[in-house]
Symmetry: C2
Subunit: 137 residues, 2 copies
């Protein structure tokens, strides 16, 4: 398809490849710096909500419910642009991330560097997770 | 864990969360420009090979075999750095991509922009896929 080719969203949503659980991986990238912040999952309803509201909503596999990013931590993601890949089975979300994307209090989740010998932690939290989630976490 | 904390690779590989098929999503990002190129899957053996050789090897779910990126198209990915996320279930690969990462001949796979009304193709192939894979594709 050449640039400018358009399709109604409903038809695209029907044609996307959702997995057995009705989910698709969604990569969140900070729109200006290019940092890859995290990867989480979306179902059709959470993608539709995200496109409607402009605030990123994932599907939490552990809690089995919609997960409006930042709902407990305050570290929200504003959607700048959503993109679908060639196979229709992965999303890239360009976002504006408030504070720390990672539940450890780090800016992003990819903080362990792997080599052929070892893994090494390469970044420190920006904030104490207890201040984000309370001392129970 | 604070910056500088290290673990042997074997132990990390044992502790990672591979899915029911023994796979993990791997996001490829161009190391210098920050472009997110594609998302594919790795198993333990393909990650180990990638770290050993410095050339990215995925696991092809459709062909059910190792997929050394560029083996038929010539569009190889050289590994610059591999990173694991906080949950141990997603990889970020900083790579140097030769030519087009996408099988459509585009630089990257995320070329359909989604809005609440529609999807729109926003980039054109760099190369004709027939020159990458032959006219049979």
């Amino acid at each position: 398809a050449s640039p400018g080719t358009r399709q109604p969203l409903d038809r695209l949503l029907d044609d996307m490849t959702w997995n057995e659980q009705g989910l698709m991986p969604a990569i969140a990238q900070q729109h200006d710096s290019g940092e890859v912040l995290m990867m989480a999952w979306m179902n059709r309803a959470s993608l539709e909500e995200t496109l409607e509201t402009g605030r990123v909503c994932y599907w939490s596999r552990s809690r089995n419910r919609p997960w409006r990013k930042g709902e407990s931590s305050g570290q929200q993601q504003q959607l700048i642009e959503a993109r679908l890949d060639c196979d229709g089975d992965t999303l890239l979300l360009l976002v504006d991330q408030l504070g720390a994307a990672c539940h450890t209090g780090r800016r992003h989740c990819f903080y362990t560097r792997l080599t052929r010998e070892q893994g090494e932690v390469i970044s420190a939290p920006l904030v104490d997770p207890e201040t984000l989630y309370g001392a129970s976490q």
